[in-house]
C-alpha cells in the first residue's frame, strides 16, 4: 500500500514537471513547481531527463549519457497492473458452432475474393503517378493472342527494383 502511495506522489510530481515544460501551468503553479525543484535534487534530475527526452524527440540532442539505463529503471519502478480474473464462460456448443460457421464463411469469402496483390519478390516501390504511356500499344498487339475483340485492359503500374541485378 505504501508503495502505491509513493507512486501516486511521483506521478503527481511528474505531471507538474511535464506541465511546466509544456507551459501548461499558471504563473503561480509554475513558480511553485520551480521552487520545489530548486530544493529537490531528485526533481532536478527528473526535469533534466525530461528536457533531454524532448530534445531527443525534436532531433536536437545526440548524446544522452545513461538515458537507456534511466528509462529502464523508471520502467522497473512502474507498478504491475494485473488484469482482473474473468469468470470462465459456460460451455455453449451452439454459440461455438455459430462462431465456427461465421469463421468458415469469412474464410471462404476471403479466399474467393479476387486478389489484387500477388507476392512480389522484387523490391516494389509505390504505384507510379504517371504510368508509361507507351505500354498501351503492346497491350493492343498482344490482343492477337488474347481473346478476340475485347479491348486492352486497364492497368496499374509499379516501379520495381531488381535488387542489384544488371538491368
Amino acid at each position: 500500500m505504501n508503495t502505491v502511495t509513493q507512486h501516486h506522489e511521483h506521478h503527481h510530481e511528474d505531471d507538474s514537471l511535464s506541465a511546466l515544460l509544456d507551459g501548461e501551468l499558471t504563473d503561480q503553479g509554475a513558480r511553485l513547481a520551480i521552487r520545489q525543484m530548486v530544493n529537490d535534487s531528485v526533481r532536478q534530475a527528473r526535469f533534466s531527463d525530461y528536457c533531454a527526452i524532448g530534445d531527443l524527440m525534436r532531433g536536437h540532442h545526440h548524446d544522452l549519457p545513461g538515458l537507456t539505463r534511466k528509462v529502464m529503471a523508471a520502467l522497473a519502478e512502474e507498478p504491475t497492473l494485473l488484469a482482473p480474473v474473468r469468470k470462465p464462460p459456460e460451455r455453449r456448443p451452439l454459440l461455438w458452432l455459430a462462431a465456427a460457421t461465421c469463421a468458415a464463411i469469412t474464410w471462404g469469402l476471403w479466399n474467393a475474393a479476387p486478389r489484387q496483390d500477388n507476392v512480389l519478390p522484387l523490391a516494389a516501390l509505390p504505384t507510379m503517378a504517371h504510368p508509361p504511356a507507351d505500354v498501351m500499344p503492346y497491350l493492343a498487339a498482344h490482343q492477337d493472342y488474347a481473346q478476340a475483340v475485347l479491348t486492352a485492359p486497364e492497368m496499374r503500374f509499379t516501379r520495381v527494383s531488381l535488387g542489384g541485378e544488371a538491368r
Partner: protein, 313 residues
C-alpha cells in the same frame, strides 16, 4: 449438429472430385476443342471481366480441314473479327473510316482450347463437375486446373451432346473468377437442321502483312516456365505507332505470353503492371540494348520468370 457435419462432409466431397486419368482428360479436352471448330453454330455470348461487360455475336461453320467464323461486338465501338482457314482480320469502324488489321492469331470464346490438346494433360489436371444449364442447353462442367502456379485455370461447361463449351470461367489459384464467357442464346446445327454458309460481304481490300520473320536474334530467353515454348518470333508494327519491334510469343497451348523487344540506348526503369482484376500481368526492363516488355493473361510468376531470364546473346 449432425446435419451440419453432414453438410460439411457433402461440400468437401463435392469439391474433391477425383481428377480424370490422362486418357479420359485428353478425350474430354479434345472433344471440346473439336466441337468449337467442327460444329456449326450461331449465338450471342456475354464476356464479363470485373465490372465491365461486352456482348458479342458469333457464327461458326466447318470449312475444309478447319473452320470459318465471324464475331461481332454488339456494344461499344463497332468491330468485327473474321477468321478463315488462311488467317484472321479485325475490322474496326473508326468514325467514317473502316480500319482493317490482320491478326497474328485467332483465339476467342468458345474456341479457347488449342486444336491439339495432347500437351495440356501434363500441365493441367481435369476434373468433371456438376451438370448445368446454359442458354437453354444442358452441359457438364469440366475443370481444367493447373498443376503449378504458372497458368490460370479454366472451367468450361461442355454441351451434353456435342461438347461445345457454352460457358467458360477463367480462375486464379484461389478459384476466384478472373473472366467469364457465357452464351445467352445459341443454336446448334443438327443433321435435320443444317445451317447456311456464312454470308459473304463485300470483298475486303488487300491488307498488308503485319509481321515479317526475324533476321537475327540478339536476346535469348534463358528461363521459361514448365511447358511453355516459343510459338512465334516476328518483327511487326504496333497498332498506331511507327517503327518495328520484335514480338515473341510463348505458350503452353492455353496461356499466351508476349515479349516485345524495342531498341533502346537509354536504360529504362523496371516496371511491373497488373490489370485491375489481376488477369493480365506485365513486366518491363532493360536487357542489353533493348527495352523488353513481357505481358500476358498469365500469373505474375510466369511473366516474371520469362522477364528475368532474358539476357543479351
Amino acid at each position: 449438429m449432425r446435419a451440419g457435419w453432414l453438410l460439411l462432409l457433402a461440400a468437401t466431397t463435392a469439391q474433391a472430385a477425383p481428377p480424370l486419368s490422362q486418357a479420359e482428360a485428353g478425350a474430354w479436352l479434345q472433344k471440346m476443342a473439336d466441337a468449337a471448330r467442327r460444329t456449326a453454330y450461331e449465338g450471342v455470348f456475354v464476356a464479363r471481366q470485373g465490372d465491365s461487360m461486352q456482348t458479342l455475336s458469333i457464327s461458326n461453320r466447318p470449312a475444309g480441314q478447319g473452320n470459318e467464323s465471324r464475331l461481332m461486338a454488339l456494344d461499344g465501338t463497332p468491330r468485327e473479327v473474321r477468321c478463315s482457314q488462311t488467317g484472321a482480320v479485325t475490322v474496326i469502324a473508326d468514325g467514317n473510316q473502316i480500319k482493317i488489321e490482320k491478326r497474328l492469331s485467332r483465339r476467342y470464346f468458345p474456341e479457347l482450347l488449342p486444336a491439339d490438346t495432347q500437351a495440356l494433360v501434363g500441365l493441367y489436371e481435369v476434373r468433371l463437375g456438376d451438370t448445368a444449364r446454359v442458354a437453354g442447353l444442358d452441359c457438364r462442367n469440366v475443370e481444367i486446373l493447373p498443376r503449378d502456379a504458372f497458368r490460370w485455370g479454366y472451367v468450361l461447361c461442355a454441351e451434353k451432346e456435342s461438347g461445345l463449351p457454352l460457358k467458360a470461367v477463367i480462375i486464379d489459384g484461389e478459384h476466384a473468377p478472373l473472366m467469364q464467357y457465357t452464351f445467352a442464346e445459341v443454336k446448334l446445327a443438327s443433321s435435320g437442321n443444317p445451317m447456311k454458309p456464312l454470308a459473304r460481304t463485300a470483298r475486303l481490300p488487300e491488307v498488308p502483312e503485319p509481321a515479317r520473320r526475324l533476321d537475327t536474334e540478339q536476346i535469348v530467353a534463358t528461363a521459361l516456365p514448365p511447358g511453355y515454348v516459343r510459338i512465334a518470333a516476328v518483327k511487326r508494327r504496333l497498332p498506331n505507332t511507327t517503327g518495328e519491334v520484335e514480338h515473341w510469343v510463348f505458350s503452353d497451348g492455353l496461356t499466351h505470353i508476349s515479349l516485345f523487344l524495342t531498341p533502346s540506348g537509354k536504360p529504362v526503369d523496371s516496371v511491373r503492371g497488373q490489370s485491375t482484376h489481376g488477369m493480365v500481368n506485365l513486366m518491363r526492363r532493360q536487357v542489353g540494348e533493348f527495352q523488353a516488355t513481357v505481358l500476358g493473361d498469365a500469373p505474375w510468376a510466369a511473366v516474371e520468370t520469362i522477364a528475368l531470364g532474358l539476357e543479351p546473346r
